[in-house]
């Protein structure tokens, strides 16, 4: 099979993960990776060309697709550069925290006529994909309620919080996308309650660590998202779609399925620790989908507009919390 040649920009945690996954894909040739801090030997020993300069990737005529895994503030610019160079782009979320900046990038992408996929990996989690399939297949009838629980195992350091764009844009953004994905509908209006219950330092950094967000959807359904920065028992990722014919629910997944029974009680394993463990498979499937959309010349399953919508919902949530009133989501 004719392999698709790919370059990766950004070799941090998520860049490394994607690179590893690309290496395992038979129809992909990972040619080069760029990061100002990378260790060249780590990559050259695996047959990948390392470079400190992302332009080397963008200007490489052999490279057909670029994965943008650099820090968030560079996403929009790198996506645009790659698009102008005629590369297809897979960009980590969010493209940018400013919706106008996202729109500019999407314009560039459209003019370049390249394919853009945004890294909402959870859509490709086999469990959540099965939930969506139940909705698509009509197994639960019309959607009435969508419920998402997303709790991290431990809060990020306060200095991370300060630059994160706030919990709604950093963490809940995945859940906003999940509500849109599961319901197949747009979010029209949000009402967010937030609180600082986990760590006062997060509050001092101007953010929250606990939230409940109510969402009204265009199809008439209602949704609610529950977030916490700290669940002591692990990464709490559950969701439910309830409809006119029934409901479908996804539970937490554990490293192994055992029950330990003693006189003290019956004990099962805690959920998988964090997103790298829980969503391991989804990172593979999302790249397979990206590559397939290039190969088969189809629209990628998660496009730039999906990236924009989640930012717009996040901004509406932040405004709702600040003004303590429901806020309509801006049109894309």
């Amino acid at each position: 099979m004719n392999k698709i040649t790919v370059g990766v920009v950004g070799a941090g945690r998520i860049g490394k993960l994607h690179a590893d996954n690309l290496l395992a894909m038979p129809d992909v040739r990972l040619k080069s990776i760029a990061d100002p801090y990378l260790i060249p030997d780590e990559w050259s020993s695996r047959g990948i060309v390392p470079t400190l300069d992302p332009s080397d990737v963008f200007n490489d005529g052999e490279i057909e697709a670029v994965l943008v895994c650099s820090p968030t503030p560079t996403h929009a610019e790198f996506t645009e550069i790659a698009a102008r160079a005629g590369k297809h782009v897979f960009c980590e979320k969010p493209i940018a925290l400013d919706p106008d900046r996202v729109r500019e990038t999407l314009d560039v992408v459209e003019k370049a006529g390249i394919k853009l996929q945004v890294g909402f990996n959870r859509r490709f989690d086999p469990t959540f994909a099965r939930v969506r399939q139940a909705v698509v297949d009509g197994e639960i009838g019309d959607v009435h309620l969508v419920k998402v629980i997303a709790r991290d195992p431990s809060p990020p350091p306060p200095e991370y919080v300060a630059d994160s764009g706030g919990m709604f844009l950093d963490m809940t953004i995945h859940d906003f996308d999940m509500v849109r994905f599961l319901s197949g509908s747009e979010v029209e209006e949000v009402q967010a309650f937030g609180a600082v219950l986990v760590d006062p330092a997060i509050g001092e950094a101007g953010d929250i660590d606990t939230a409940v967000v109510t969402l009204k959807l265009a199809n008439g359904a209602l949704a609610v998202i529950e977030n916490s920065r700290k669940a002591v028992f692990g990464y709490d990722q559950r969701l439910e779609v309830f409809g006119s014919e029934g409901g479908v629910e996804a539970y937490n997944e554990s490293p192994c399925q055992v029950r330990l029974r003693t006189a003290d009680g019956i004990r099962a394993e805690n959920p998988l620790f964090f997103f790298l463990e829980r969503y391991q498979r989804s990172f593979v499937v999302e790249l397979e989908a990206f590559v397939a959309s290039i190969r088969e010349d189809r629209e990628p399953p998660v496009g730039g507009c999906d990236g924009l919508m989640s930012v717009l919902i996040g901004l509406a949530a932040a405004q709702s919390m600040a003004e303590n009133r429901p806020v309509k989501v801006e049109a894309p």
Binding site: H144, V198, A211, T214, A221, L222, F242, G247
Partner: protein
């Protein structure tokens, strides 16, 4: 069985579905009580006679005026509750009243005053507080098993939508249905509801919308202790009566899942199957319905205050009113402070 023990003599007013269930529970399960009389406008004579209830009438005064009767169970239609409480209190009877006591603060406050003035007990039928699972969750929250409480979630979905004539006199979904959930939130958190945001929709049956009500809702609540809570309601869950509860805190999460008639699991070609949850509240809360009347009779006999009073009904109605207002005006609504400080009474 009876005759040797000094039983508490009870009368029942209202023998519809709930009235019949409470009466049967009193007769069959609560040895300390004797049901002497039952009054109901369309009394099922055969049913009452079958239970061995000596006095059967369509006239409430037959129960109210019977000097032997110490306690009255009020299970008449909702609109009559507060007036019947006043009459029963005036007659010096202890009172167990089904929810709702009233749809507004006024009648509930009057009922509270009437019971207080007459020196009688007044328990309200928030049966979930007596469910062993809900009770266990409340106790472990109170014991700090989940640490500081950060959130509660209550799922309350009926198996099928009520008939429209019921909807019309129900007071609306927040007052008729979510009222239990407001009380459950207060019970589980041991805190007060400070602010609510309610989003409602008509997704089950357009007729419910035509009757001016909703059938689907998400209610988010901010409590005095800082916790953020979620209630979701639907009038129709096709798989049965969906009753789930969760308490999340700094030390963990506790979950009460649906009960099911049997715990059999069937591993078949199409998947792994278990029983559906019970299909009615009578089945799901069977033990709770018995336990709440047991507790009531015990409190009457031991002259101890009841554990679920009309004050709780008042707090729940305030939350329901705030939810309705929140939905109508599409904004978060703060609940009025329970009791404003007395003029000049505060010390500085």
């Amino acid at each position: 069985m009876d005759g040797h023990m000094n039983q508490t003599t009870v009368g029942v007013i209202g023998a519809g579905r709930i009235g019949k269930m409470h009466t049967e529970n009193l007769v069959h399960h609560i040895r300390e009580a004797e049901v002497k009389a039952v009054a109901s406008p369309h009394l099922d004579e055969g049913w009452a006679k079958g239970l061995g209830i000596p006095v059967r009438s369509t006239d409430n005064s037959v129960v109210l005026d019977d000097t032997e009767i110490e306690a009255i169970v009020i299970t008449a239609s909702s609109g009559q509750h507060s007036e019947l409480i006043r009459q029963a209190a005036a007659a010096g009877k202890h009172i167990f009243c089904e929810k709702p006591v009233g749809f507004d603060e006024g009648p509930i406050e009057e009922a509270i005053a009437a019971a207080k003035g007459a020196g009688v007990q007044l328990q309200v039928g928030f049966n979930r507080r007596f469910d062993p699972d809900v009770r266990s969750l409340a106790e472990s929250v109170r014991d700090g098993e989940v640490g500081e409480l950060h959130g509660l979630r209550v799922i309350n979905r009926d198996p099928s939508a009520p008939p429209i004539d019921f909807v019309l006199r129900s007071g609306g979904m927040f007052f008729d249905f979510a009222i239990h959930d407001f009380d459950t939130i207060r019970f589980l958190s041991n805190s007060e509801i400070e602010e609510v945001f309610a989003a409602g929709a008509v997704l089950v049956d357009p007729e419910i919308g035509n009757a001016g009500d909703i059938d689907t809702a998400i209610i988010t609540l901010r409590l005095a202790n800082g916790a953020l809570c979620v209630i979701d309601n639907s009038r129709q869950a096709r798989y049965g009566y969906d009753q789930r509860f969760e308490a999340f805190g700094s030390k963990g999460n506790q979950v009460v899942d649906n009960t099911r008639p049997t715990i059999k699991e069937s591993f078949l070609e199409g998947g792994v199957y278990t029983d559906l949850p019970p299909n009615t509240f009578v089945e799901r809360y069977r033990d709770a319905f018995i336990a709440e009347l047991e507790a009531f009779v015990k409190c009457v006999r031991e002259k101890r205050p009841v554990s679920v009073s009309a004050d709780d009904a008042l707090a729940a109605v305030k939350a329901a009113k705030a939810a309705k207002k929140s939905m109508d005006e599409n904004r978060p609504v703060k609940l009025d402070a329970a009791a404003p400080p007395a003029e000049g009474g505060s010390s500085r």
